[in-house]
Subunit: 256 residues, 2 copies
C-alpha cells in the first residue's frame, strides 16, 4: 500500500521531472570576484579572497581531466552560518556543520520583502513591526521554517558602491526565535546589518540566533522568485569537520 509520504515524494519527483515544480537557484557564483563578508579586527577578522588553482586542464598535467583546488572561507559567498561560528553558540553539541541535524536544513520558507524600504533608506533595519505586518498579511510564521529577508540590495550595492546593508534588530531576532524559526537568511553579505558592531548586543543576528542554536544564511540570490509562503528552502552546508559554516548551493522548490 502506498503511504501518504510515498505519494508526496512520488508527486514531487513527477513535478520536478516535468518542470511543474521548479528548482530556483538561490546562490551566487563563487570565485575570485566574490564579495566577502568581513568583521572588524576586534570582532573576528577577515577571510581570504577565493582562489581557484588548476590541477590539470586536459593538458600535460593530465590529458583526460580538468580539475582545480580551492582556497575558500567557510563563510564565503552564499553561505550557511552554523551556531559554532558565534561565541554565544559554541556550547551546542549539534552546532557545527558536521553535527547539525540534516532534517532541519530543508524546510518551508517565509519571505519578507523590504526592498522598497531599503531603496529609500539603505541603512534601515528589519524590526518587529515589519514582521508583524508580514504576519497580518500572510498568517502565522510556521515553527521550523526559514525566515528570509529580501532587501534587493544585492544588486544595488554593486551598482552604487554603497555597501551599507540592512539586518534585523535584536528585538526582531528575539521575536523570530520565539516563533521557532530554524534560521534567518538574507540577500546581504551577512545576516547582520553593516553597522551591527554598534548594536546591542553587537551582531545581534549572530549573537542571538546562534545562542538559540538557530542558523544563518547570507548572500542569497533570486529571493524575488520565491512566493511569500509556499516554497521549500534547501540550505545544506558541506559536512566540514568541526565547521563553523560553509559555502552552499542554496535552492528552493516552488510551483512553476
Amino acid at each position: 500500500m502506498t503511504s501518504n509520504q510515498q505519494q508526496t515524494i512520488a508527486s514531487l519527483g513527477a513535478g520536478l521531472l516535468t518542470g511543474q515544480i521548479c528548482v530556483v537557484d538561490c546562490s551566487s557564483i563563487l570565485g575570485p570576484s566574490t564579495t566577502l563578508q568581513h568583521f572588524g579586527a576586534q570582532s573576528g577578522g577577515q577571510q581570504p579572497a577565493v582562489e581557484i588553482h588548476k590541477i590539470s586542464e586536459y593538458d600535460e598535467d593530465g590529458p583526460f581531466f580538468a580539475w582545480n583546488w580551492l582556497k575558500v572561507g567557510e563563510h564565503a559567498g552564499t553561505h550557511f552560518d552554523a551556531p559554532h561560528t558565534a561565541e554565544s553558540g559554541r556550547q551546542h553539541p549539534d552546532g557545527s556543520t558536521e553535527t547539525v541535524d540534516p532534517q532541519k536544513l530543508i524546510a518551508p520558507a517565509c519571505v519578507i520583502d523590504v526592498s522598497q524600504k531599503c531603496a529609500e533608506q539603505p541603512g534601515c533595519l528589519l524590526d518587529v513591526s515589519d514582521v508583524e505586518a508580514w504576519e497580518a498579511s500572510n498568517g502565522p510564521i510556521p515553527s521550523g521554517c526559514w525566515f528570509l529577508m529580501r532587501s534587493g540590495l544585492d544588486a544595488r550595492s554593486v551598482a552604487s558602491g554603497d555597501d551599507r546593508h540592512p539586518g534585523p534588530t535584536a528585538d526582531c531576532i528575539r521575536y523570530l526565535i520565539e516563533k521557532d524559526i530554524v534560521g534567518f537568511g538574507s540577500d546581504c553579505l551577512s545576516t547582520d546589518a553593516s553597522d551591527a558592531d554598534q548594536m546591542e548586543p553587537p551582531y545581534p543576528a549572530h549573537h542571538l540566533l546562534h545562542a538559540a542554536n538557530r542558523f544563518g544564511l547570507a548572500s542569497l540570490e533570486n529571493l524575488e522568485r520565491l512566493p511569500v509562503t509556499g516554497a521549500i528552502f534547501i540550505a545544506a552546508p558541506l559536512k566540514l569537520c568541526n565547521g563553523t559554516g560553509s559555502p552552499i548551493r542554496a535552492m528552493a522548490l516552488v510551483p512553476a
Copy 2:
C-alpha cells in the same frame, strides 16, 4: 485555488517538519582525514589533502567569532563531477558547476545494491546484466533519475586496507545513458572502478557520462538507508566559477 504543485509542496513541508519525510545525510565528513580520489600522473594527477586553517576562534584573532578557511579539491570527499571535468565533456555550455541546470540536480533515485557481489569479489564491475536484473525486479528506470550504486565498500575498504573498488563497465554506462539517467553515483571514491585506467575507453564512467552531459557522484554514504526506488536525491554542487566539480552535502528525502 491551490494547485496540485502547491499541495505537493505543502505536504512535503508538513512531512519534513513532522519527520514523516526523513532527510538522509549521504555525505561523509570533509576534513584532513578524508580519503581522496586520485588519477595516475598520465591521466590527471592528484588533488591536495584537505586543510582547515583558523581565522579566529573566540580568541585574540576575534573574540566574538570562530571561522576557518579551507584548502579543498573540487573533487574531494563526497562530491559532484560536472561534465567539464572530462575532456570528452568540455564542449557542453551547461557543463560546469556554474552553468549546470539546477532543475536536474534534484531527482528520483534508483539504488542498486551490489554489496554481496562486492564482498565476494572486490574487483568486480557493474555490468548490464546487473542493471537488467534490477529492472526485472523494480521496473523501468525513469528518465531523468539518479542511478546510484551501493557497493558497501565504503566501510570495508577502510577496515581491510584493500582499496580496490568496483565501477561500471563501458557497456553498463552506455545502457544507463540510453535510459536517460541524469547521472550515476557511487559510494566508492570515484564513479569509475579502481582499475578503470586499464579499461576501454579508459575511465568509462567519466568518459561516457560526461560526453553525454550527464553527472557523476562519488563517495556517497548511507545508501543502505534509501529505498530501491521512491527516494528523491539532492546533489547540488557549489556554484564555483568555471568549476569542474564540487564537494557536496548529498541528501535524500525518504518516507519515514
